[in-house]
Symmetry: C2
Subunit: 448 residues, 2 copies
């Protein structure tokens, strides 16, 4: 089939293979469609096929594509006001910082970046510069930047000065108690399908007792855990939070919010970046804030997410695929017996017009209504039924071992204190104690 | 004075101080204006004052704000097509990669990021993953990310596995000859006011002879050195180039171009990033490519830059301020006896409606005509004359020592082989030889 523009998906994928990368990150591992346009969560590919996005573009979208309020705010800004100025300050930057400080308890001051990874790198730098210490403890995924390349194992990485504790509380308490005076901050990405608010609150309190900064990486959760993220529940105090996905509804923008004395370490942290002043995404973010202001959108969005989550759980049960489905309504996890099976189910659902996240974390947008939920469930049921018909399952339910495997592979969760974990805690303590710190908490200033 | 929106610059700067940072990076060190809008290179602040931008927003702008072709391309895309899709590939990404490969000799394949710093971090990762080696040699500024925090001194940084040679050829040749088999790449930012194409060509050839990847950081130069950067002159072959500023005329976008086998290392390099798929900036970048296609815009822009550069040199001579003015017409350096004097001159010129870069690197946009050059020169002359009237100069011209000082402070240029330099070369060789490599050339895959 040929498109208006004269291309097929396959032709374009082959063109992409010739001039861009990468085979495993995108070209060969996403479902085979090149989208030409999207409205709300409905995408139309170059051959005219429509598909419903159940990934929210890896969480980047909150209100769906072409949302009239956001589109108007950002395009008016670009057309009537401009894009970047010689000065780094702008009205939207100041107003957005004020709005975010009102919304999130951790926010006394805010600085901006372009991507979630830039926000987490800035957060580490700020914590180091503010404390004059170099050691970072962390759990979970914080992006692709240099400081964060060993998040799936409990251990210490000498090159980056970062130790991972894999959400394991024994490891966390041992490391904080042992090295409290040397830790710049503890930086944790909430995995709310796996650990509840009480878990994060316990970490936060333990840090406070030991004089250690507690930092929440809310790049994904800040607008998906609930209206104001984990920090905004009021249950989990934090010295720094990072946010990005959804804040400008797909336009690239990220932020670090925190205590004034931490954010004020910016100058000593060597942070810079010409595009941090780019104004139109901030205008978009203000429109997002307006849209969400009265709380009804989040309430409706969570309702749709819950319908979808419950529906997927019921379908998996009815077709006989063992599954564990849980988490916040706007970002829930679906764990089936294997990664390969997960891919097969969603690949089959894709043929019926729904683009799910094949790893299993599903996300709705505010453009989801009951029609979208129904469409997603219909496609999912067809996919699940097809796979169930041709698969023998060795287990009848998802047990602890499979959950632990999923957690270990997805975000480095070490769910129990088995021998391997206890051994790696001791090894990590030893490595940190014997380290020669090579990271300067206060690097050179940046230009631009 | 009060604005349409009821604010003064000073009030807004104080509001900014309360909720954002940073004093030295922006709030306290940029000229005191909050711009409300800009068209071309003319900015209007919240009090209604007009000022001409001679910084091109730190180089981010190429055609000026509100350029009709770019504005139309990006706003049409946002309104009619969308912002981000579940799939990472898009027509604009594929077409832009093709166009850039046609334009730059180094480009066999292209991958995208959001900022110049993201591009340079990706480049390092790609070089390491493609070669399986960890050591990086570098000169010049490459952004604010972690791998690059010691660019002003010849030396080796164990944490990042990066050695700086400060544009010193003796250092460069010694390090490459000594460690050729261990070097992932040599990564140099062109400083074209200081070193000519023959200099970079010599580095490139020496790398090729020793089987080492040669990488040019053209984040600033790719569209300002000339129409196609240093690499596009055909005089300086490179295995990787990075680009960003100007490519989407202020909308955040960056790219890494390189040999296919290097870019194909993406999957092994642990690179990711949800917003790398953001489509509207790519639509803007395609419009920029269209606008520049016939070469007349660059020709005109370079003519305006030369008028400005020559005019500034003449003014400094006529008011009696010792100065060295040189470099490509679209990004030239103005060196005066001290940094403080530089600030004073441009601060005074700002009061006459021109916003220069106070450090001395001036950049025009394609929105500059003769009226803009005249306005800039008039303001500059008033500023220079005011400062000259109240300053005693100890020197009558900018000698080698001041040039060497400027180079050392601005980009780490070690212009001569003095004792200190020769000693630090030997110390660096020793440190590299004795290092325990801690960087993994092939880190974990990223999500999202």
């Amino acid at each position: 089939m040929t498109t208006a523009a004269g291309h097929t998906n396959q032709e374009l994928i082959e063109r992409a293979r010739r001039v861009t990368a990468a085979e495993k990150y995108d070209i060969g591992t996403r479902f085979p469609a090149i989208y030409r346009r999207a409205e709300g969560s409905w995408m139309t590919d170059v051959e005219g096929n429509r598909s419903l996005d159940v990934t929210a573009a890896s969480g980047a979208l909150l209100l769906g594509n072409c949302h009239p309020l956001v589109s108007a705010a950002i395009t008016d800004y670009i057309q009537d006001y401009g894009t970047v100025f010689a000065s780094t300050l702008s009205l939207p930057r100041i107003e957005l910082a004020e709005r975010l400080c009102e919304r999130f308890p951790a926010g006394e001051k805010v600085v901006f970046g372009k991507s979630g990874s830039e926000a987490t790198t800035m957060a580490i730098r700020l914590a180091r510069a503010a404390t004059g210490r170099e050691l970072i403890l962390t759990s979970g995924f914080h992006g692709w930047h240099d400081w964060h390349q060993s998040y799936l194992q409990i251990g210490y990485d000498a090159g980056s000065g970062v130790a991972c504790f894999g959400y394991n509380k024994t490891a966390f308490k041992r490391l904080v108690a042992e090295f409290a005076d040397e830790i710049a901050g503890v930086f944790v990405t909430p995995e709310p399908a796996w650990f509840d608010a009480a878990y994060y609150r316990e970490l936060s309190e333990f840090c406070a007792q030991h004089g250690v900064l507690f930092m929440l990486d809310e790049v994904i959760t800040s607008m998906r855990y609930g209206p104001n993220g984990v920090n905004g529940t009021g249950e989990v105090p934090a010295d720094i939070i990072t946010m990005s996905k959804g804040m400008a509804n797909g336009h690239s923008l990220s932020a670090v919010l925190g205590k004034a004395e931490v954010i004020d370490a910016y100058d000593d942290a060597g942070i810079g970046g010409t595009y941090t002043r780019e104004v139109p995404p901030m205008a978009a973010a203000l429109a997002v804030q307006d849209f969400l202001a009265d709380g009804t959108e989040h309430e409706r969005c969570q309702r749709m997410g819950k319908l979808l989550m419950d529906g997927m759980r019921d379908i998996l049960a009815s077709v006989g695929i063992p599954a564990w489905v849980g988490g916040p309504a706007m970002m829930f996890d679906v764990v089936v017996p294997s990664e390969a099976l997960s891919w097969d189910i969603y690949r089959a659902a894709f043929d019926h017009g729904a683009y799910f996240e094949d790893s299993g974390t599903q996300m709705v947008t505010a453009a989801f209504g009951e029609a979208e939920v129904d469409h997603a469930l219909t496609a999912f049921e067809k996919g699940a039924r097809k796979v169930a018909a041709t698969t023998d399952f060795e287990v009848s339910e998802i047990g602890f071992d499979r959950k632990a495997q999923f957690a270990a592979e997805a975000f480095g969760g070490a769910l129990e204190d088995d021998d391997r974990v206890l051994k790696s805690i001791e090894e990590t303590v030893r490595q940190i104690a014997e380290r020669t710190p090579g990271i300067s908490p206060r690097p050179l200033p940046a230009c631009g």
